[in-house]
């Protein structure tokens, strides 16, 4: 299978590989996919105010899956949370010139961004709930 230059570049030089502290209140973690399907993506965001100040990923999957998640971290860094939430898989497909059999990789990357944001928001929600409860007490 021939890969696009951009996929090869992300595979050779993946951006933002690594992990953030998943227990931190300002970090959202999204893990999507399943080992038996051949793809698992872990994408993490660190948020200050409403801005994603850092993003990291680790991916088990084919070259296109690695490239999709690497690109996703590149794109969401510096974006507002709501802007990141609006990124769709078709933009990833276009940027990386993914063939039809690899579209699921871009879907997974979109899901990973959304899962990370959801996790972050849940943590924030729980925190404000806890704060509200503390005030009421």
């Amino acid at each position: 299978m021939a890969y696009s230059d951009k996929v090869l570049d992300h595979y050779e030089n993946p951006r933002n590989v690594g992990s953030l502290d998943k227990n931190s209140d300002t970090v959202g973690t999204g893990i999507v996919g399943a080992p038996e399907c051949g793809d698992v993506m872990k994408l993490q965001i660190q948020v200050e105010g409403d801005t994603i100040v850092d993003a990291k990923f680790k991916t088990f999957g084919c070259g296109s899956a690695i490239a999709s998640s690497s690109l996703a971290t590149e794109w969401i860094k510096g974006k507002k949370v709501d802007e990141a939430m609006a990124i769709s898989n078709t933009e990833i497909v276009e940027e990386l010139s993914l063939p039809p059999v690899k579209i699921h990789c871009s879907v997974l990357a979109e899901d990973a961004i959304k899962a990370a944001i959801t996790d972050y928001k849940q943590k924030q929600g729980e925190e404000s709930e806890a704060a509200a409860e503390a005030q009421n007490a």
Partner: protein, 404 residues
């Protein structure tokens, strides 16, 4: 650009120089049709074809008349299975094969099922092996054929063919073996191994592509087949079509070379595999061998590198020509049917690579390849969320994955 190192000897092999030299005259000066009885061109071609039959027969301990030339193993498999079905279908409608067979056998079996045959697909054990006991249990009154491969093309596991053949002989059921991966690689003896039909292919034994043959036993028992190709009645009526003389000469020469070099080839391929696997296991954790370590095709090494995905691994092997699963299915994203039927989990099946070493592989090739493999696996494990979790002591089976 230099060629990558070829480590895919189960997919195909290069034509041996000795084989090519034998073939060349039959493209030009000696171009005759082996069926032409009226002139020297035809006689010379027929003589060459007869020599090839002798060479093939000698390698597998058959007689020359029992060799039927085909375009390769796929055609030979179709001829054997459908030919038996058509000839003996009135006697019985049951056949036995295994889930680990090549697609050529499985798809032919499917075809026969549509024509009213019933097929039992034996499930191999975790190493990919089918036992004689399984065959004995599956044979029924109406069984007319057992079709089992000698050595598996993906994991290299060698079936106990002699024992299986003995069971079939005792029960009066014809036994066909797809020996495409075995002939020329390990000793094959149709008499001692109780074989009624056997197929082999030129390009797997350092011969040319597009030629192979079916061995069809003539005595005790005499096997009869209904031809699947109508025409001039070549090959004792079993396979019509003008003989591919240069290809047939090449197949014969390849078998002669294989017979002469068999021990040397086996020792070479086994030594290379040992060198490769010991390097891999010394440098990497979580690597598993797929196949039967005690009965594996020389030079075949199918490994699962847990927590990294096969396709991305192959991308990392920039200077190696290897395959994930069999070449026929590697274009699909499905994990290999062979690994699946052996009970290898989908997760590990996605992480498996087949390495094949052969006559032209050198120790330098092995050292280079092992280093590239180790480097790529380490790099991808740095990137793998699964490897990270395992390092943290998380049991992956306890996680609720969001499959898609």
């Amino acid at each position: 650009m230099t060629n990558p190192i070829y480590l895919d000897y189960q997919a195909t092999t290069p034509v041996d120089k000795r084989v090519l030299d034998a073939m060349l005259p039959y493209f030009t000066d000696a171009f005759g049709n082996a069926a032409s009885r009226s002139h020297a061109f035809g006689w010379k071609a027929e003589e060459a074809v007869d020599l090839s039959r002798e060479q093939i027969a000698s390698l597998i301990n058959a007689t020359a008349k029992e060799v039927v030339f085909t375009s390769g193993s796929t055609e030979a498999i179709n001829l054997a299975m459908k030919g038996v079905g058509d000839m003996y279908g009135a006697k019985g409608k049951h056949m036995i094969t295994s889930l680990a067979e090549h697609k050529a056998v499985l798809d032919t079996a499917k075809h026969l099922e549509k024509e009213g045959f019933e097929v039992t697909y034996l499930k191999p054990d975790a190493t990919g092996k089918v036992t004689a006991e399984q065959v004995a249990e599956a044979i029924r009154e109406d069984t007319i054929l057992v079709s089992l491969m000698w050595a598996n093309n993906e994991v290299g596991t060698i079936n106990p063919i002699r024992e299986i053949g003995a069971v079939c002989r005792e029960r009066g059921v014809l036994f066909f073996t797809d020996a495409t991966q075995a002939v020329g690689k390990i000793p094959v003896d149709v008499e001692a191994d109780n074989i009624d039909m056997l197929c082999l292919s030129g390009h797997k034994v350092y011969g040319p592509k597009g030629v192979g043959c079916l061995y069809v036993r003539r005595r005790k028992p005499r096997v009869r087949l209904v031809a699947q190709m109508d025409g001039g009645g070549h090959e004792r009526g079993m396979r019509s079509g003008t003989l591919n003389v240069p290809g047939i000469v090449g197949l014969g020469a390849a078998c002669a070379v294989a017979e002469q070099d068999l021990e040397k080839d086996i020792a070479h391929a086994n030594a290379l595999r040992e060198r490769f696997e010991s390097k891999i296991f010394a440098a990497l954790d979580y690597v598993e061998i797929n196949g039967d370590e005690n009965a594996r095709l020389p030079g075949c090494s199918n490994l699962s590198f847990a927590y990294v995905e096969g396709e991305s691994l192959i991308m990392g092997f920039k200077d190696l020509a290897v395959s994930s699963g069999s070449a026929c299915t590697s274009a699909s994203l499905e994990p290999s049917h062979v690994l699946q039927c052996m009970g290898v989990g989908d997760e590990l099946a996605h992480s498996s690579i087949r390495f094949g070493f052969g006559r032209l592989t050198t120790e330098e090739d092995i050292d280079f390849a092992a280093n590239q493999v180790i480097e790529a696996v380490k790099k991808l494990r740095e990137l793998s969320p699964l490897y990270e979790m395992v390092q943290e002591g998380i049991d992956l089976s306890t996680i609720a994955w969001t499959g898609h």
